[in-house]
Amino acid sequence: MNGQPTALEAIVAFVDERVGLKQIQAKMLNEPVPGGSRWAYIFGSCLLFIFIMQAVTGVLLMFYYVPSADHAYASTQYILHEVDYGWFLLSYHFWGSSAMVMMVFAHMSQVFLWGAYKKPREMIWLVGLALFGIVMAFGFTGYLLPWDQRAYWATTVGVEIMDKTPVVGDFMARFLKGGPTPGQMTLSRFFVIHVMVLPAALMGLAGLHLFLFRKAGPAGPFRGTHAELKAKTDYFFPRQIWKDIVAMSAVFITVCSLAFIEPVVLLEEATPDPGEYHPEPEWYFLFLFQLLRLKIFSGEFGQFLGAIALPGAFMALLAALPFIDRSPERNIFKRPVALVGWLIVMISIVIFTVSAIINREFLD
């Protein structure tokens, strides 16, 4: 050692002696990524980043937003028109939620295509599916809060669809609505679910997801000889984290740009009669919405089939995936069923989403 340690070094040594800081740091950061850090692995970290930004902007919005039926709309308009940069924070929060859904699809697709749900990563996949459900629930509950026509009616239609579930549907719908019809009780419930219940669930499950991931280790690329993988191996810190942060900054800039291009503009305040307004859910539910317009899903049972049974069966299939697909092959180009299945699902979602947008012109 040359000379006296600096103040910073002394503090670090003090903490390290008591806590084993250096070892903890090393364990957390020096995780070798076989085959090297990759841009394809950034989606999970981006999700974490987007969640933190949503939490921060969300808390800021709560400084002015009032979750009561007679003030929700006015307080939201106040944030948009009078509070300095309120329009920007609300628009960031709004576009951030869309970014989160996109990123969830990207992350799930990357994990699926890389076969990283296979043994020994089955539990990470299952927890991930639960997290997916939570993200969709976030989008659904948050959408109601501005209490304009779009918010109120998208929620009403969504909850009515849930009502179609046999046996428990009526109870679930009344629980969410806080009564037989949507009103103040609905707003209160959606608010507490959105700002307390779901964030707590997300943080808990995300923590579990990360713990399980570290325990199993990164899956790495699906091709490459042992020598090639070893030659390109680097540590999580700083290489993968560097790629993560570049991706996060790209996401940040994109969401900011969207906030500038298309700031949030509310419709009129919610009324019990939709009038000229045609209820529509958020864009990431549009494909389901369009599916329900098909004749095969008409009628009470048909709506249940299309809205609850089919998506439910699909989620069950995804959950069962690591237990059905036991082949250790992870190369997507050698898993034709998986590749074709993924393409069909993605293309169908795109087709139905675009169809829903085209269908808007046919509504009168």
Partner: protein, 307 residues
């Protein structure tokens, strides 16, 4: 040990160079686009698009260079020639200038044609029995599948042409003699700047300046106000300051008390005078002209203080 240079098809080669080059440039272009947006200049209209394309040139040259040199070292096992980035960039610029308008025209025509054909098929009445939603989706699938196939072909042709350009550069390059690990180390160290403190300082300082610019340009209130929202006008409710209000009231009460005491005193004096005058008046027998004035004034002003 030097590995045999593997041969790559032009399409694979084109993609291997173009894909990372494209994404490497994105963060910089996004930053520029965001700054423009804050100033109210969208990047998909003139003049925003012109500025963006202009500023993209050095970014693209750099990105192309990094990407191409990496591919040369790791996948082709060749030493990249000097100014590879610049060479590939200007050759690609010419290719794009010639090919892209043609490809665009082809794709637009195919889309229009496919849509027309699809509409004719739909009109044939075979599908009248289906619902609106079904017809919309079938219509969409019919014309979009054709257009997508053509689009994929156009992209593959572009990549093939670009791959040929890269191949020509590769043909003139010398084989690299290091081991695989050595090659990986080469392209990896290529990404570390020679003068780290300088680069990091310049980067951070530029970033900070851009952020200040963003703060200066971005609008304080929403650029899309709601049509029926009434912005609150100048008339403000004055601030309520409880301590001041109390003090004011105290002062007012004190003043009122003083006035009342003064009036009481005056009233007493006048009553005394009246008594005196009464006495005098009875003996004199004439009414004092000043008295009637005093009386109504007395009656009006004085509330009975003794009550």
């Amino acid at each position: 040990m030097s590995a045999q240079a593997p041969s790559m098809s032009p399409v694979k080669l084109g993609l291997a160079v173009w894909w990372p080059a494209f994404w490497s440039g994105i963060p910089f272009k996004l930053t520029i686009a965001l700054l423009f947006l804050a100033m109210g200049v969208p990047s998909w209209e003139m003049p925003g698009i012109a500025f963006l394309l202009l500023l993209s040139i050095p970014i693209d040259i750099w990105a192309m260079g990094v990407s191409a040199r990496t591919v040369f070292l790791e996948q082709l096992r060749l030493n990249p020639p000097d100014s590879l980035g610049l060479t590939l960039w200007w050759q690609n610029a010419i290719l794009s200038a010639l090919y892209l308008p043609l490809a665009y025209f082809i794709e637009i025509s195919v889309i229009a044609g496919a849509k027309a054909v699809t509409n004719r098929i739909m009109e044939l009445g075979l599908m009248k029995a289906l619902g609106v939603a079904e017809r919309i989706s079938i219509n969409l699938v019919m014309w979009s599948s054709v257009s997508t196939v053509v689009l994929i072909i156009l992209v593959l042709v572009y990549l093939w042409l670009f791959g040929r350009i890269v191949r020509r550069q590769a043909a003139g390059a010398r084989a690299a003699t290091e081991s695989y690990q050595g090659l990986v180390r080469s392209w990896d160290l290529m990404r570390v700047p020679a003068d780290q403190p300088l680069m990091l300082t310049v980067f951070t300082a530029t970033g900070v300046l851009l952020v200040f610019g963003l703060w200066a340009f971005m609008p304080v209130t929403t650029p899309h106000p709601h049509e029926s929202y009434q912005q609150s006008k100048g008339k403000q409710v004055p601030d309520l300051r409880p301590v001041d209000a109390l003090k004011k009231t105290e002062k007012l009460l004190a003043q009122a008390e003083t006035r009342v005491e003064a009036l009481e005193a005056k009233a007493q004096e006048e009553t005394k005078e009246k008594e005196k005058e009464k006495g005098k008046g009875k003996s004199k027998g004439t009414a004092d002209p000043t008295k009637p004035k005093a009386e109504p004034a007395k009656a009006g002003e004085k509330p009975s203080p003794k009550q």
